[in-house]
Symmetry: C3
Subunit: 279 residues, 3 copies
C-alpha cells in the first residue's frame, strides 16, 4: 500500500476553485438546497439552483459543472435533468450524479439508471446501498439511508466505475473512489456528519466544485472528499461543539476556512489500486 | 390533580426510538424540510421527504409513520397525501397530521378536514387557532400564527379528540394532549421556540418518531412534546445563547443528546383528565 | 453631503414593526425559504410562504406586504405572482420584488420585467448586475451573482427608480436606495454576508417587513438595510465567530435583538441626493 496520489495537485485544486469561482448548476432536492448552495460557496464555487425546464439549457451555458440529485425527484424533474444533462454533455462540463435513495423505490432506481445510461456522467457519488442498488450488486436501503450491500465495497466501487464508465465514490467511514483502475480510500471525516441530514448531498456539491476546475475527475473527487472530511474533523475538535447543531456551524466555518496547506498536511489517502493490497 | 402518566414508559420510549430507527415518511412543506429531517434524526428516526405521487405508496411500505403537513400545500399535494395516507392506513402505521395554517384560508381548512375525514389519523397536532378552526370552534389565525380561539383550550383538545377519534395535541406555553378521555398538560418548553419558524412542524416530527415505535399514541405524543420542550429549556440555559440563531444550534444539540434519564427527571406533566381539576 | 434622513423615524419604524407584527406573504424561491421566514420573524413580521394559486388571493387579504422573489421561478409561478400581485395592488399593500438572477437567463429577465410592467411595485431590490439587467443598462451576472454593470451605480439606482416608478435598492458594500429623486447610501454591513447564500433574499424580506408598516417606502428600505447591515456588523464582532456557520447564528441573534437605540446611534447613512456630491 503506497500513497501515490499527488497531494500537491490536491492542495492546488482547492485553491484553484476559490480563485476561479466556477458556477455550479444544481438540479437537486428540496430538503438540502440551502446547505448545498452554502457548501458550493465554501468550496469556492457559485451556486445556482434553477429548476425550470425553460431555462436550464441557458443556465448550463454559463455553468462549469452540473449536479443532478434525485433526493425529491418527480418524473418531470428527471426529464428536466436529461435536458440539462444533454446540454452539459454538449459543452463538455462535468455532470455529478447523486442517486439519493436509489434502491429504496423503483422510481429512484430507474431514474438513476436512466440518467447513467443517457448521459455521460463524470462522477457518481452515493452511499454503499445506493451504489449497490444501481450496480445491481445488492444494495439495501431504508429510505435514503444505506443498510449495506452484499458486495465488498472496494470491488463495488471498481466494478461500478468500469460498468458505468465514470468515477464512482462510495462515501462512508472510509470513502472509496475509483475510476475502474485506480482506487483510493479517504479516511478523513467524523461521525458527527451522520447526525445531520444532507451531508452526503453536500459532499456531492464539494465534488462538483472541484471537478468544475479539474481535468482529472478522480483527483477532484478525492480532493473534495478529503477536504470535506478534514473540515468535519477540525470542526469536531472546536471548543463549543456539543451536538449536531453546534457541529454544523463549526463544520461550515471549517469548510470555508480550510487551507490548501492544511489539506496537504492532513489528507489521509490510501492507495488501494492493487486489488491484493490490504489497509 | 395527580400525575398519572407513566414516566418510566416515557423514558423507555425515547430510548426505543433511538434503537429502532424508524423510517418517518414526510409529505411536508418546503419551508421546514431541512429542520424536520434533522429533528427526525435527533429523535432517532430516519427521515425521507418523498413528494412524488409515483413513489409514495412504495415508500410507505418501508415506513413506520407518515407525517402529513399542509404548510405549503397545493391541491395536487393533497391528492398525494391521500394516496400515501390510504397506504399507511392499510399497513396500520400511524399518520400524524399537522394542519398548518388551517383557518387562514379555505383551501387549508378544507384540506385538513378532508384528510381527517378520509384517513384514520393517529395524532393531530396544531396551535390553538388551527385546532379551533378545524374543530369549528372559532380558531383565529394570522397566516400560520395562532391568534387564539374562543373555546377553552382544554375543552377544545378533548372535544376535537372525540370528534375526530384521534389524539389531539394543542401546542403552546402549556401543551395539551388528549385522546378524548385523558388530558395531559406538558409544561416543558421555552419562549425562544416562538422566535423561529418551523418549531411547530419539528414538534410534529418528534411526535411521529415516538408514535412510530409506540402502541399508545397519547403516551407517544406526551413523551415527544415533553422531550422536545425539555431540550428547548436545556438549550436556553446553554452558555452562549444570545438569540434565535445560537438558540437553534443549542436546541439541536440538546434534542440529539437528551437522555431518557433527563426526561424521566425533568418532564413536567400535569394530569388534567378530571374536568373539574384546575392547574 | 448632508445626512438628511430622519434617524428618529428610522428607529421608530423598527419598533413599530415589532409591535404590529405585520403578516408578510412570500412567493419566493425554494433555496432560502427557511432563512427568509426567520428573518421576517426577527424584524417583527409574521411570515407565510403560500405558493398555491388557489389560495394566494385569500392570503393576500390578511397580509400587510407581498414579497415576490424569482430565485427558482417557473412560468407557472410567475402567473401565481401576478394573481397575488394584482390582489396586493387592489388592497394597496406594498409589493417588494427581488429579481434574483435577472440577466442570467432570458426567463428571469422577462419575468422581472413583466412583474414590473403589470404590477405596481413599491420596492425593487437587487444586486448591481440584476438592476443593471432589468434596466437595460448592462448588468452582468454569473448565475445569481453580480459581475457588475457598465453604469455608475448611483445613476443606475436613480434612473431605474424613475423608469419603473418605484424605490430601487442596489445592495453591495454600499447599499444605494433611490426613489428617483432622493438617493441614500447605507454603509452598514459586513463581508461575511457574501459567504452565505440567501443574504440578498433576507435583505428583501427585511425591507418588506419595514415597508408593511411604513408610509414612506424610501425610509422603510433605508431603515431595513441599515438595521440588517448593522446586525451583520455586530455579529462579526461576536466572540466565537470564525466563519460563515458561526456568523450566521450570530447574525440571526443580532437581527432579532437589535434595538431602535442601536440603530439610531450606529446607522451609517449618506445622503447622495445631490448628483454633484461625492462620498
Amino acid at each position: 500500500m503506497t500513497n501515490t496520489i499527488d497531494k500537491v495537485a490536491m492542495a492546488d485544486l482547492l485553491s484553484i476553485a476559490r480563485v476561479m469561482r466556477p458556477l455550479i448548476h444544481h438540479l437537486t432536492n428540496d430538503v438540502v438546497m440551502n446547505d448545498t448552495a452554502n457548501m458550493t460557496l465554501f468550496f469556492g464555487g457559485l451556486p445556482v439552483m434553477t429548476a425550470a425546464r425553460e431555462e436550464v439549457v441557458e443556465m448550463v451555458q454559463a455553468a462549469s459543472a452540473l449536479v443532478l440529485n434525485i433526493g425529491t425527484l418527480t418524473p418531470a424533474q428527471v426529464e428536466t435533468m436529461l435536458i440539462a444533462g444533454h446540454a452539459a454533455n454538449a459543452r463538455n462540463i462535468p455532470i455529478i450524479l447523486d442517486p439519493v435513495g436509489a434502491g429504496a423505490t423503483q422510481l429512484r432506481t430507474d431514474a438513476a439508471l436512466r440518467l447513467l445510461r443517457e448521459l455521460r456522467i463524470e462522477v457518481l457519488r452515493g452511499n454503499l446501498g445506493e451504489i449497490g442498488a444501481v450496480s445491481g450488486m445488492g444494495g439495501e436501503m431504508r429510505g435514503v439511508e444505506s443498510i449495506g450491500s452484499d458486495a465488498d465495497p472496494r470491488t463495488l466501487a471498481r466494478e461500478a466505475a468500469r460498468s458505468f464508465k465514470t468515477v464512482v465514490a462510495i462515501t462512508g467511514p472510509r470513502d472509496l473512489i475509483s475510476d475502474g483502475q485506480r482506487l483510493y480510500g479517504v479516511d478523513n471525516g467524523h461521525n458527527w456528519l451522520t447526525t445531520l441530514t444532507g451531508t452526503g448531498c453536500m459532499a456531492t456539491t464539494a465534488i462538483a466544485t472541484c471537478a468544475a476546475v479539474a481535468t482529472d475527475a478522480l483527483l477532484a473527487t478525492t480532493t473534495a472528499l478529503a477536504a470535506y472530511g478534514l473540515a468535519a474533523e477540525r470542526a469536531a475538535k472546536t471548543a463549543g461543539v456539543h451536538g449536531p447543531g453546534s457541529f454544523k456551524a463549526a463544520f461550515f466555518d471549517q469548510a470555508y476556512t480550510l487551507t490548501s496547506e492544511q489539506l496537504y498536511n492532513h489528507a489521509r489517502i490510501v492507495d488501494l489500486s492493487d486489488p491484493t493490497a490490504t489497509a
